[in-house]
Symmetry: C2
């Protein structure tokens, strides 16, 4: 593991402020010294990315695909070393991290396949009509091109799948954007291992130096330097509302404002409909016990709000949920900061007289530190509606049940919520048609609308939408998961009246890449 800052294919001399990774479950330092990058190193990384841009973007899809596959292969070759280090740095258990590593490599393979298939560039061709009246039509051909150097912030809660070689990096590299990663200080060793894998793949597949760089910092200076660098063209971030808003502010106050795709807070409301509660209260309670407490609740899709109308079924649900949550053992949180914040916010909620406790686990593992104990609380809809703070996310194994007097009040609660990543309804098939106004509201509220399943667990594919109205994300028009996430990094360019031989292959009439295109208003692969 080379712990130094990496610019292009070169590790930099170890200077700058030294820091180490901590094992959050024990509070002890892990091996390896890391060094905060300097502002001039941040400057050099973006400049080199910009220099690499024209060469990298011009490489064929097959070459970029080989690079992405190479990264995945190199990560796989380090599988056990990466998992071990990530366990130490994150406190997450091995099976979860193995799943995340598989997701990470699968994402890279998925984008490689997307590049080879090729249609993602959205090629559109309108050929000339010289004799059109009153004016001739000129030949115009459009396709997506990459924006330029992308700055990717590693996420604390996905040390692999949304970090150094995670979904953002994979999508950016697939699009043709060079990437500068700001490694998350909570898992610098995991970052070093994965960054080394990318470096190796870049060298082996002959990528231009500068297509990938990675810098460390345990503060904010390097992040700011990267976001405000005039050659940075787009920023991606997964984390807190506060962090995302700070980046958005920096990005828009530049001489050239640039897009930030920030995936921020979400409380992921779940509506439990009456008949489903009556018929399967216990089953629902078990599903949500798992969903609320899995990975110490440290998912952006964690179900933080449960909504229901009071009923006998709801009482049974509460009972089973309460028993289940009370028995969930404590779990190590990602960082001491996250744990302290969880403790503070859950304590604040519990101190409110209008908030009652459905369950509070007391299964503390006293051999470890930074432990979270799962909490589920209850509040009336009226009290919830009266205080904005209950809409804020409590990041961790926490959920709040909002009990409405009737469906109208439940709808009022739904209507009061801010934008979400997900919104869920648990319902029996034959009661659903009665609640169309609720299901319509869910689609207005969120990017992903789920029926009869927990919001946790995000399928990575073509149809996924992971994003939603503010404040869930900074721009609801994009997803940060799945093949469509590549669209964050591209813009359309059209060539008018251009010489066929000088056009990109994607736009040549003969369609040498055999990709799907819209040609004179017809979808065709010809």
């Amino acid at each position: 593991m080379d712990t130094r800052n990496l610019i292009g294919n070169n590790y930099l001399p170890a200077t700058g402020k030294k820091f180490r990774a901590a094992d959050p479950s024990l509070g002890i330092d892990l091996p390896g010294d890391f060094y905060a990058a300097s502002i001039s190193e941040a400057d050099a990384a973006v400049n080199l990315a910009d220099k690499a841009f024209n060469e990298y973007r011009s490489l064929g899809g097959d070459k970029k695909a080989a690079f992405l596959r190479g990264i995945a292969d190199e990560i796989k070759a380090l599988n056990d070393i990466i998992i071990e280090r990530a366990m130490g740095e994150s406190g997450l258990p091995a099976p979860r991290l193995q799943g995340e590593l598989n997701r990470t490599t699968n994402q890279l393979y998925m984008f490689a396949d997307l590049l080879e298939e090729g249609s993602w560039v959205e090629a559109i061709i309108d050929t000339a009509i010289p004799d059109r009246k009153p004016l001739p039509r000129v030949d115009i051909r459009k396709m997506m091109v990459p924006l330029g150097p992308a700055v990717v912030f590693g996420a604390s809660n996905f040390p692999l799948a949304y970090s150094v070689a995670g979904g953002d990096t994979a999508a950016a590299l697939a699009s043709g954007c060079p990437v500068v990663v700001k490694a998350h200080p909570a898992h610098p060793g995991t970052s070093a291992l994965v960054g080394g894998a990318i470096k190796k793949a870049a060298e082996q597949t002959g990528m231009p130096g500068g297509v990938f760089s990675m810098l460390y910092d345990d503060g904010y200076a390097i992040g700011e330097a990267l976001v405000t660098h005039p050659k940075t063209k787009i920023v991606t971030f997964t984390g807190s509302l506060k962090g995302g808003m700070a980046l958005m502010k920096m990005a828009r106050e530049r001489d050239e404002p640039i897009p930030v795709f920030a995936e921020m807070g979400s409380v992921n409301p779940v509506v439990l409909l009456p008949q489903a509660l009556e018929n399967r209260a216990e089953e629902l309670a078990k599903t949500y016990t798992d969903s609320i407490t899995m990975s110490a609740g440290q998912f952006c899709t964690n179900p933080g709000l449960l909504l229901a109308v009071k009923s006998a079924g709801l009482e049974r649900f509460k009972k089973t949920l309460g028993e289940g949550v009370a028995n969930v053992g404590s779990a190590t949180m990602l960082t001491s900061g996250i744990c302290a914040n969880f403790g503070k916010l859950s304590k604040e909620r519990l101190a409110e007289s209008e908030v009652t406790v459905i369950a509070h686990s007391d299964k503390l593992n006293s051999e470890k530190i930074n432990q979270s104990l799962a909490v589920v609380t209850e509040i009336t809809a009226a009290a919830f509606l009266a205080d904005e703070k209950y809409k804020e996310e409590v990041f961790g194994p926490y959920s709040m049940l909002i009990v409405a007097d009737d469906i109208a009040q439940l709808e009022q609660v739904l209507g009061s919520l801010h934008g979400q990543l997900t919104a869920t309804v648990m319902a029996d098939a034959d009661e659903l048609p009665k609640y169309k106004s609720i299901t319509d509201k869910l689609a207005n509220l969120a990017g992903r609308v789920i029926l009869n399943g927990p919001p946790t667990g995000v399928e990575v594919g073509n149809a996924i939408m992971h994003g939603g109205p503010f404040p869930a994300t900074s721009d609801s028009r994009f997803t940060s998961v799945g093949t469509s996430s590549i669209k964050r990094f591209v813009r359309p360019v059209c060539w008018q009246n251009w010489s066929e031989d000088l056009l990109p292959d994607e736009l040549k009439i003969a369609n040498p890449l055999k990709i799907w295109r819209l040609v004179n208003n017809e979808f065709t692969k010809e």
Copy 2:
């Protein structure tokens, strides 16, 4: 012509500050009293749009298409009245306005066709794979849905095609977003006529009240009230950099930041390559005489910068361009403000010792006021590079020739420019391959790259990209012209594990609308 503010299908009582339209060529008031809307009226318009949203978005594509066609038909029925009023308000000649009216109705028909074809929703379906290992795949289906109420600012330079029923309104209504138009105070009568046509079409096709509203204001208060209204979800604007930046600031400082698509300034650089100049200097000069001076240069695609290396061919080009421009008669500008600004900026340019004059028309029509006289200036590449102000747009019949010592210096100028709507190269076919580094730079710089044609004249179709890197637009990832401009107004939503009968038709397995979709990674119409 009903000159009152319009909310939904109701005209409001005539209150508020009164103003009239002026004929810019004569400085006299035109008939009709208009009244600045109040803040509470702005509030009511957006609230009603929000109320209409759920009903309007749920209408089938065929019904929305009928509405759009109805608008076009009603505009056509008023053809002569609209042209006459628009001539009076804008100073633009009848043939230009007739072309613009045709473009306006064609855009509406184009979006109606797009809705009936239906594939624009980008439906993607990944069906369930219950036996996938290690985890089953759940059924997920995604499509685009409208964002919500859109605020559209009428543009001064396109009183029809980018105003009340222009491209922004047509795209927003097609997407399913209700529209509140802030009418441009330079052409309130034209706005009233077109707004009346939309009202009539909305009534005749049974649209929900609130799908369209239009408010007047000769100041900034109503624009601000509309942009900052909590229920407004997106804003479109075509105009100055200053105006666009002010709207972007308002929109991002809201509790819920919203996207603004602002199409702002562009100087649309044109590179004249040596061999083309040598072989056809006079032909190029004629093309650019027309392009620079057409409609008093009041196009966002006006070629404000010409770039060439010094040569005998360039001298011939200058001579013919100079003779052509000197003979262009003065033309009425859209408003006295625009004319004053043009006069001020062109005077400032001419006063610079490093700027020389290639041509300055003296063909003043002294019977009219607000006349612009075309100007083409010249500067060395070195002097251009030394002063940022020369990169700013002089809106009107103005262009500046930048003379480089050699191709390297010309490339340096290109590399120094900010984002543009268009970038053009005039070249002979056999010299182009030599200049690949220039043509590559053009695609980095702009959204539309043109070979051997003027940038003025924007084809409206599937392949057009009208937009570009900042400051040409606020977000280079979207176009404001053509079918793809609908994408500004939509966001993806995915439905997970949803009941087939409750899904939108676009996402039902049987594909009742027979639209192109991506189903299990295959493009298909089945």
